[in-house]
């Protein structure tokens, strides 16, 4: 179980790295999808199934579709010009940051031991989502409106030439 968890985490990282290193945008988008799937797995293991479902359906699904269609629309031919250097020196930076990351986390662990909360949340997800976060839902409506209208505005036909 824990091994699987660790593999999932490493999988996220791996696919993310691939997503940014692939020259081919399509492959990159698909790698991102892979990372999303692994992230969803992690969510499931962390007892967050609803989030996991959303992650798979929306992020791995919808967003990937958006990416792919965009890549199609732009014919994906603009991948040239990417400097090779950034791909080559990436490992150096990556390893450097991994070390720093471990050091920081270790230091934090020593300084502020992670303690679980004494009174974990009770109730169902529905209660938590619909009743406690009602205001966020209104916000979500706004977000969706904003996104939709923005896309509409960006793809509108202009009445007149400016």
């Amino acid at each position: 179980m824990q091994i699987l968890y660790l593999i999932s985490l490493i999988g996220i990282i791996l696919f993310s790295v691939l997503a940014i290193l692939f020259k081919d945008l399509l492959k990159a988008a698909l790698s991102l999808m892979g990372a999303s799937v692994f992230l969803a797995v992690v969510f499931f293991m962390l007892k967050a199934p609803y989030a996991g479902v959303f992650e798979i359906s929306v992020v791995a699904g919808l967003i990937t579709v958006l990416f792919v269609s965009t890549i199609g629309l732009t014919r994906g031919d603009a991948n040239g010009g990417e400097s090779r250097l950034s791909g080559i020196i990436f490992p150096l930076f990556f390893i450097w940051f991994v070390i720093i990351d471990i050091l920081i986390m270790y230091a934090l662990l020593n300084q502020y031991p992670a303690t679980t909360s004494a009174n974990p949340e009770s109730g169902t997800f529905g209660q938590a989502f619909w009743q406690k976060r009602t205001f966020d839902l209104i916000g979500q409506i706004g977000i969706i409106f904003a996104g939709v209208f923005s896309v509409l505005a960006l793809f509108r036909k202009k009445d007149k030439d400016v």
Binding site: T134, F135, D136, G142, A146, F149, S150, A153, L154, R156
Partner: protein, 493 residues
């Protein structure tokens, strides 16, 4: 019905694109203006009465059943609402004529309304995550609005804006997550309680850093400002006015202030950081504005500088500085909004934003020229206009906080501010009319009306400042002065 502040914009936004199919211009114009005007009046009457009678938090009731939506309608948020609707009304009036040639007024107004609704929600939110959500609401609509012209400049600006603010909000959310992890709650009141109870300096430090990054980018503090001079000039003039006038203040300054002053409490360290950020913003914004040749870009840099003043005032944390900063929020919103609208008028009339191609426009566009003078002098802090009083209060506050150096630089920067504003005057309005501009006309009625109204408000606030301070600023300042205690006592639900 506090919820109307959010619902009216959202509902209008939902129906406007549909109405556009019926009536292309008249109904969207009417509905938007009426809606905003109603909200403005509602704020000034109902909202003011509500706040005057009892401070603090309201809960939305739904068929006599308490629902889990709480609003922090106190003096501070009411003041922000007032500012939002006041300027929005001017902007919508202006848009009636100005947005004609952009097309799709319905969608424009819808996005506009969502932005207004998002800002209202942000101001009313009592929950850290809700603040974030509404911040994103107004941000996403602003991405669309910045790119509304669909030309290269607009798209480029919007893209950079989006990509930078996506990173910033990511960090913001990370900070929120950390705080959630530590305190186990997202309610401002709870967080303030926990923060005062525990020795969590280290984490607070990191979270503060993230918040400063997140909100600071929204507020365009140096060094997080780089998107602003691209995005604000590129947007259509009414949107530039909204962005510079309101969005950076609501999603940046308001959120920052609410969280740092009322939740975290203004520690000396935080105060120092904010003041340094403020002063650097003031200087960088002012100095770089000097070299601009693009009317709106200069105004945009000026916004950076002026937000610096506000942050400097809040950072100083003395009562007068806070009052000054609050007052400056409104004054700068009005004046900068006015200036951006006028830049739109000039662009509308001459077809250019380059100052070098203008000259002597005062002869052909007297109203625009006169209102621009009012706006410029107000931002530069020349009495008797409103901007003077707020800057004065900020500087008094700074001196009371014994921050002499800061106050001195702030004073110096106001000279630079005047410098670049008179550069605008010199190149665009004041001077001999250029031959190429012989057939320029004054702007249409609604645009002129809107600018004149805002200019009048600037002057009226300027000459009756004490009334305004007593009525609007003092209640807001009282809340901020209470510091973290306020959140602990009043934001508990």
């Amino acid at each position: 019905m506090v919820v109307l502040f959010i619902f009216i914009p959202f509902i209008l936004a939902a129906i406007l694109p549909l109405i556009e199919k019926v009536s292309k211009r008249f109904l969207p114009d009417l509905l938007t203006n009426a809606g905003i005007l109603f909200l403005l009046v509602y704020t000034m009457t109902f909202g003011y009465k509500l706040v005057a009678t009892n401070t603090g938090i309201r809960q939305l009731e739904w068929f006599a059943q308490p629902l889990n939506i709480t609003f922090a309608l106190d003096g501070f948020s009411l003041f922000m609402l007032f500012a939002i609707y006041l300027l929005s009304f001017g902007v919508t009036l202006f848009s009636i004529d100005y947005m004609e040639h952009y097309g799709s007024k319905g969608i424009f107004y819808a996005l506009f309304m969502i932005m207004v609704g998002g800002m209202s929600g942000l101001v009313l939110a009592t929950d850290l995550f809700t603040i974030y959500v509404f911040l994103e609401v107004s941000a996403i609509s602003s991405y669309g609005l910045v790119a509304y012209g669909l030309k290269h400049d607009e798209l480029e600006a919007s893209f950079k804006y989006l990509m930078l603010s996506a990173v910033a909000t990511a960090f913001l959310l990370l900070g929120i997550g950390l705080i959630f992890g530590i305190t186990g709650s997202l309610k401002l009141g709870d967080i303030a309680d926990k923060f005062s109870a525990h020795d969590l300096k280290f984490v607070i430090g990191i979270c503060t850093g993230f918040f400063i990054f997140g909100f600071g980018l929204k507020a365009a503090l140096v060094p997080f400002h780089s998107w602003l001079p691209d995005a604000h000039p590129s947007a259509p003039a009414p949107i530039s006015a909204m962005l510079s006038g309101l969005l950076i203040k609501v999603s940046g300054v308001y959120a920052l202030t609410r969280i740092f002053l009322n939740v975290f409490g203004l520690t000396p360290a935080l105060s120092t950081i904010l003041m340094y950020l403020g002063i650097v913003s003031i200087l960088v914004g002012a100095i770089i504005a000097l070299g601009q040749t693009d009317f709106k870009r200069m105004l945009a840099y000026s916004s950076i500088s002026q937000v610096g003043y506000i942050i400097l005032g809040f950072g100083a944390g003395t009562p007068l500085a806070i009052m000054g900063a609050l007052f400056h929020i409104l004054n700068h919103a009005l004046a900068k909004g006015l200036l951006f609208l006028n830049s739109g008028s000039v662009e509308h009339a001459t077809g250019t934003r380059e100052l070098d191609k203008m000259g002597g426009l005062a002869k052909k566009m007297p109203i625009t020229a006169a209102t621009t003078v009012v706006g410029s002098l107000s931002v530069a802090g020349v009495p008797p206009l409103n901007g003077f009083w707020s800057k004065l209060l900020i500087i008094i506050g700074l001196l009371q906080a014994k921050a002499y150096g800061f106050a001195f630089i702030a004073v110096l920067a106001s000279i630079i501010t005047l410098w670049y504003y008179i550069i605008i005057q010199r190149r665009a309005f004041f001077g001999k009319l250029k031959d190429t501009l012989k057939d320029v006309k004054e702007v249409p009625f609604w645009m002129a009306l809107s600018t004149v109204l805002i200019a009048l408000v600037c002057i009226i606030i300027g000459v009756s400042f004490w009334v305004f301070i007593a009525k609007w600023i003092t209640p807001a300042a009282n809340i901020l002065e209470m510091g973290a205690k306020y959140a602990r006592i009043f934001l508990r639900i």
